[in-house]
Symmetry: C2
Subunit: 141 residues, 2 copies
DNA sequence: CGGCATCCTTGCGGATACTG
DNA sequence: CAGTATCCGCAAGGATGCCG
């Protein structure tokens, strides 16, 4: 076990093995970030912007499954958290460019570490699911 | 930039900078895992079980903000994914022990890397929020 | 082009009560 | 002790329409 990633191996092991104040996780930044990560679009946009800055409709086209509502909402949230920067170019047809802030860029690494894990063990998860489904309730179709 | 975490630096940079098939993220294990991480209780339980095996009511007491419904649901989900193992001891008062599988244990590291990031940059996020709130809509109370 | 406002559906998630 | 089952509130999220 042990932790040799960033330097703080047992942030969790120190924060949670205790009586867990319940909503402490929701109040502390960890819960906040976890929520963001779990957000269907947030991390997708972060990663997308990690590659290059994008314009609004460019993002809308890139994801192509998100509604304007969610695109704007998510971007606003990320902007509020200082992960994304919004630059408005006062041209004749208004052009808005979204880019990742330095802070947002630092998120890419722990994020990719997690994504990496998912890719690596994705098969195992899938197998475990099949195995579980087989022994639970899906006998004779 | 660069990536020196797990060994696969640009899983995301390779998967997403492309036209993003939209629901590809939702279908592939990455989206799945991200959803779990974002889940309010899942990772909390994983971390908790990462310390030691726990029994049902022991977990219920530990978190103490979760309902039986969510406790069971979350545990079942984690069990289905092969992250948690459920052992039933056929004693007179039934005793069920939940523990982390080897697979589940491997998740602890990328997870703590992310949590670590959150703790490290939590202040910056908070500051960015205040800064954003100050310039958006909270003028004179 | 880049948004914001509104409506309406979906399902997550909590509280409660009952069983093995 | 370890769940299962039911009810209900609430807000996340998609579709649509209008404005700068």
């Amino acid at each position: 076990m042990s932790g040799t990633h960033t330097g703080v191996p047992s942030v969790l092991a120190h924060e949670l093995p205790r009586p867990v104040p319940a909503d402490e996780l929701a109040a502390c930044p960890v819960g906040d970030v976890f929520r963001r990560v779990g957000d269907k679009w947030s991390m997708l946009l972060v990663i997308l912007l990690g590659g290059r800055p994008h314009r609004y409709n460019e993002l809308h086209r890139a994801v192509e499954g998100i509604s304007q509502r969610m695109l704007t909402r998510t971007l606003r949230g990320l902007e509020a958290d200082g992960l994304v920067r919004r630059e408005v170019h006062p041209t004749v047809p208004p052009a808005v460019e979204y880019s990742l802030t330095p802070l947002g860029r630092t998120l890419l690494e722990p994020l990719s570490a997690l994504a990496d894990w998912a890719v690596r063990h994705g098969t195992e998860i899938d197998e475990a699911r099949s195995r579980h489904a087989a022994g639970s309730g899906a006998p004779s179709p």
